[in-house]
Amino acid sequence: MKNKNLFQFITFLLITVFVVVGCSDKSSSKSGGTSNGGAPSELTYASTSDAAGLSPIDTNDSVSSNVTGQIYETLFTQDPKTLETEPLLAESYETPDDNTWVIKLREGITFHDGTPFNAEAVKYTFEQIKDPERAAPRASLLAPIESIEVKDEYTVVLKTKEPYGPMLAALSHTNAAIVSPAADKEGDIGKNPVGTGPFVFEKWVEGDHVTLKRNEDYWREPAELEKVTFKVVPETSTAISMLETGEVQFIDALPSDQLPRIESIKSVKVQKSEGTRVSYLGFNMEKAPFNELEFRQAVAYGVDQEAYVAQLNGLGTYNESIIGPKVFGYNEEAKNEGYPFDKEKAKEMIKENGYSGEKITLLTANRDNYMKMAEIVQSQLTEIGLTVEIETMEWATFLDTARKGNYEMTFLGWSNSTADGSELLYPNLHSDNIGSSNYSRYKNEAFDKLVQESRSTVDQEVRKEKLHEANIMAIKDAPWIVMEHGTVTAAYDKSVSGLVVDPTGKWSLYNVSRK
């Protein structure tokens, strides 16, 4: 008899399942609450991974920044279209001398916990970022600042050891956002973030989603959206399906191979614009023959970047300049200063200098477009007479290996979150950073000097010239061969308007609305 019952139970279960599926209402899966006029006032964004934390001081990844960027604000900000620096929490600033920055703050702003935003809060935040005990991953942003003084309630004075050119870019960085000192002292702002921004933290289910609600007491006009959700959807193809069915309304950083599918969805709009990211083929400058200019030149002539960019479905552009068109310090002249594709010349140089048949290994991380780059470059370099092998590694292992200099040639990219040329050339190519972020181990005193000057000059025009000069030097010296300058992308439901992705890939939901 027991078995008969089981059979009946199973039949019952199957019927239930079919009834549940059959009764479903097609439109019920569309999310988004509605406010006045029936327009949805909620937005769900899907990202491939979860935020590491919600404290701008203690994180350094773009996923976390996407969330913290809506909750916290910085003293200065960059216009998403022009990238011009504008005051945000600051009202104005002056530099009585090259080492002093007097910043006047906006009055009457409060943090989400009700405590006032003032010079003390700025001092507290910056001191936390600089505190070695706290081990803030972007401590280097404020490293040149020697002291932070509170002049009065709404005036803060920053003093540097030597002039710091990219100061405003650094103060606009998401990781230099101002936090509520009370909230940070009493609790963990990584879990319960408290800022001054247009959205207030509501809930974080780790690994699944973060929800924020509108800050009704915002110091500017409150945002249009009432509620925003950051949902973790690890698989891009799933995220695209969700965008198609309306379960999410916004995704970004679209992979080039999925672009045709996204563009074919009728209810979705795709935004593409030039970005600050540069991807490159880098040489290990401490190993032979990679440290020989002739070899690097031959490789540079042998690589046809256009053939690679052609495979990106319209994302990415090529230009020989290391500092890209959207980065401060770019000068048009630089774009033709490198070594354009010329197979015959490359072959000749390989032969003349006795590099024929030289065996080289391309270290490649198995993510982003690096595998694609490696395969294309492998076949191109084989054609000019080199023997090329690809060594693939998973990201964490790759970073470790590349940092230690255990490679010959590799592919990497730099997103440049401040869009400032000094923030590209200094970490990546200045000899101070050999063993850390200077993966190519490039060491050139003249270049170092120019980069140093670009950092320690406050006059922006002079900085631009120094950066241009340094850029030309690096292009000619070729520790890097540019592969592409990135395109920033977003895809969103047609009901969404007001979204602008800036060249660094950042966006704010403040001006976004749905109709």
Binding site: N3, P137, S237, D400
Partner: protein, 313 residues
């Protein structure tokens, strides 16, 4: 019976101790530095040093391990390197999702597997048998990734009957059940196929045995012959397959969780491995190992229930 349980628990403790040592050491020996991941490519050498110091990674490995074991004895499995969350919290938020998914998949697998297995054994060599053995072969061979994506495209994107992904609504609501259907089918198919093959061969063996022939000769109706007399004896190997499969599913099902955006143990583990979040990797591996051993113990106990001739003394 009690003796068996006590013995198994002692074995479990030793096993977990061994596993914790192996996982701890292999994570520390493997290339990839948690500090580089946290600091990102921009971090300077001194930034990294500060992070390592903060995480306690600058101490000798053996000291770190002793410290870790000491913590476990007090119920402290450490804190995530990435988020600072206690490991137990990280696991407890995700485990209910994995249990839901594993249970739903197992229900799908058992229903489809046993029914098709039995039917094809009874109707051996008929078209039903042929199609169900084909299903079994296909079910084992189809990669979850592909099956999940296809189900999403058909049932969620085109027909819009079911949501694409996520497990957010409570299980007892209609929305909650709808969310589970596609992932459960995706994950349950391979197990269903295995169970079907196992049920078919076990059933074929049993219905050819003497006692079934005797029962038939005595005039027992075909339906009760199969469902009462034969099924129970055919179940022993099937229960073993179900048990092992269920243990595996509870250990997290990386691909299905990934495709359907389900916040479960499998994804927690794979993300932790990628970001070298040692405490989370250690915690999840220990959990998975413990579950596997416990499920096997339960399977052993079920044997005695199904076949009273089996005793544990």
């Amino acid at each position: 019976m009690i003796g068996l349980i006590v013995r198994r628990f002692l074995q479990l403790v030793l096993l977990l101790l061994g596993i914790s040592f192996l996982v701890f050491m292999s994570m520390h020996i493997a290339p990839g530095d948690p500090a580089t991941i946290i600091g990102g490519p921009t971090a300077s050498a001194s930034d990294l040093e500060a992070i390592r110091n903060d995480l306690g990674l600058d101490r000798p490995v053996i000291v770190q391990y002793a410290d870790y074991l000491g913590g476990i004895l007090q119920g402290d499995f450490g804190y995530s390197f990435q988020t600072g969350q206690p490991v137990t919290d990280a696991i407890l938020t995700r485990f209910p999702n994995t249990i839901k998914l594993a249970t739903a998949s197992m229900i799908v697998a058992i229903i489809i597997g046993i029914v098709t297995g039995i039917v094809s054994a009874i109707k051996q060599n008929s078209w039903i048998d042929l199609s169900s053995t084909t299903f079994a072969l296909a079910g084992v061979s189809i990669p979850n990734f592909w099956l999940g994506t296809m189900l999403i495209l058909v049932f969620a994107v085109n027909l819009q009957w079911l949501p694409v992904g996520g497990l957010s609504a409570p299980i007892y609501t209609i929305e909650g059940m709808k969310e589970l259907i596609l992932p459960a089918i995706t994950l349950g198919t391979a197990s269903a196929a295995l169970i079907a093959r196992m049920s078919r061969s076990a059933m074929l063996e049993v219905i050819r045995s003497d006692y079934i022939r005797t029962a038939k000769a005595k005039g027992v109706k075909p339906r009760s012959l199969i469902w009462i007399h034969a099924l129970r004896n055919a179940m022993i190997p099937v229960v073993t397959v179900i048990g092992i499969n269920f243990g595996g599913l509870l250990g997290g099902t990386i691909i299905t969780e990934q495709v359907f955006a389900i916040n479960g143990i499998g994804r927690l583990m794979i993300d932790a491995i990628a970001s070298r979040d040692f405490p989370i990797v250690q915690g999840t591996v220990l959990l998975v190992a413990a579950i596997f051993v416990l499920v096997n113990l339960i399977v052993d106990l079920i044997y005695a229930f199904i076949d009273p001739r089996i005793t544990y003394n």
